[in-house]
Subunit: 316 residues, 2 copies
Amino acid sequence: MDREPKILIYSPNDTQVYADLLQAKGYTAVGSASTPEEAAERLAGTEVLLSWKFPLHLLSRPEASSVKWIQSMGAGVDDLVSLPHIPEQIVITRIVDQFGGSIAEYVFAYLLYLNQDISRIRIAQKEKKWEPFLPGFLAGKTMGVAGLGSIGKEIAKKARAFDMSVSGLSYSGKQAHLVDQHYGPDEWRAFVQELDYLVLTLPLTDETRHVINRELLLAMKSTACLVNVGRGKLVVEEDLIDVLHSGHLQAAVLDVFYEEPLLKENPLWTLPNVYVTPHISGPSIPLEVMRFFADNVKLYLKGEPLRGVVNRNSSY
Amino acid sequence: MDREPKILIYSPNDTQVYADLLQAKGYTAVGSASTPEEAAERLAGTEVLLSWKFPLHLLSRPEASSVKWIQSMGAGVDDLVSLPHIPEQIVITRIVDQFGGSIAEYVFAYLLYLNQDISRIRIAQKEKKWEPFLPGFLAGKTMGVAGLGSIGKEIAKKARAFDMSVSGLSYSGKQAHLVDQHYGPDEWRAFVQELDYLVLTLPLTDETRHVINRELLLAMKSTACLVNVGRGKLVVEEDLIDVLHSGHLQAAVLDVFYEEPLLKENPLWTLPNVYVTPHISGPSIPLEVMRFFADNVKLYLKGEPLRGVVNRNSSY
């Protein structure tokens, strides 16, 4: 290639996988770091940062002055834009259109697990008990998708294949055609009232932070189920805990939390009908991240607009 | 109504539910029976039999001479047609187009449960362990559906929504357009070779009995998964047990068996990676059975062709 930008890969793990994949594509000016100390040491001269959980405070140091572009390995970039450390001239990109299918598989896995009552079946099998019962079904129920980006879109598509009614709430309204019934940001209460399932796929922004509070949770049907695959801080966690304690809501399936890893003392671990998963619904598969990044590097070198550029004002 | 046929409802349980539903529709000449003794007592004069697990030997008795039509509460009628007890002039109908959605929900519940490794997640939660891992995904995998009736059709539809490749094998070939790749009854081996999932939805007939034997199971990928929602006797059960014992196949999800309830001493209960469910994938929900039956009674009274008439030669 004509010009090769100096690339630094930062991630607490798997950096070697990414470096190997990048070198296989012909890039040689590739460094990697897994700790803040290594990052500080290797940052000088870096033009492009492919990063996951980068120690952001380093970006205000002089050795970061060469950085022009940060590609996040994830879809959510609230951590990147929430701090004032990243100079305005640095372009931030996030992975787009890669996680929809994976996250939708996670969502439907849990909805079907609950309806078919697989935990009950597994216990019966252990005891060699043949005890038929009538499972629940998704068909005919109402799915509500909050956030209609590429993730919400995939969830809506699968909900239709399961013959569900699909409602959606979005802030831009651009994808209102994906759902039977669309609500805007001022219509949360009307939106949640009729749902059997509320799936949160929203990015975390000033508008969406803490949008799911006690009042809204209590406005949901007591038999409804909340699924959060967006960000932990979309929900007022203590409100959710109280509401679940009171017996309102059938279940909560949570892949994201205020603080991750979820603290041992958090009651969500042990509340009945809470399903805690360790932020695995939208895994950054190295091969897919690298495909996205490599395509973006080509655009970068040609001076063309990158894919997944983050708007600093809207945070996504 | 002008003419009311004498209807007898037979089922080991739930007969009162069916009787109530039928009486609510205006039928008054409705009897019910839950045991062979009750059936023998109440059969005389019966014109229409709505039945589940009816004691078939009664049909060769003189008091059964008035029976003109038997509506089964299920989709599979191999038990009804396998015995010579039912005089040829009696019309047998089965429920059609009612179970596809339910059975497909069952199938995808288990495929997603296995891919997302929910059992592992549940154990980690019990121990308050935050241990992310990369789940498996259905997208890109190959689904094979054996039997392309209303049940196979629903499974194929959902498989597409999960971005799977879909192969199908059917005996009539009439629904070959539903799948990417269609195989006929002489092509079982070619059909199963490339599959990640083989789902059996076939009826039990002379042609399909024991069609899944050791040779065919070993022709499958060792990572493949077998799902049987058709009939237990489609599979040579001891071959399946041997093959699973040998470590071939990733899992078997079985809702139907040679003998039901599954005997306590059957090794399927305890084989690792075998998921035993008590024939619940296609539940006969009274309300839906009754809707189907009531529509058929109207056709019967008008002398029009009934829905779901069983061909005695093909057994479905």
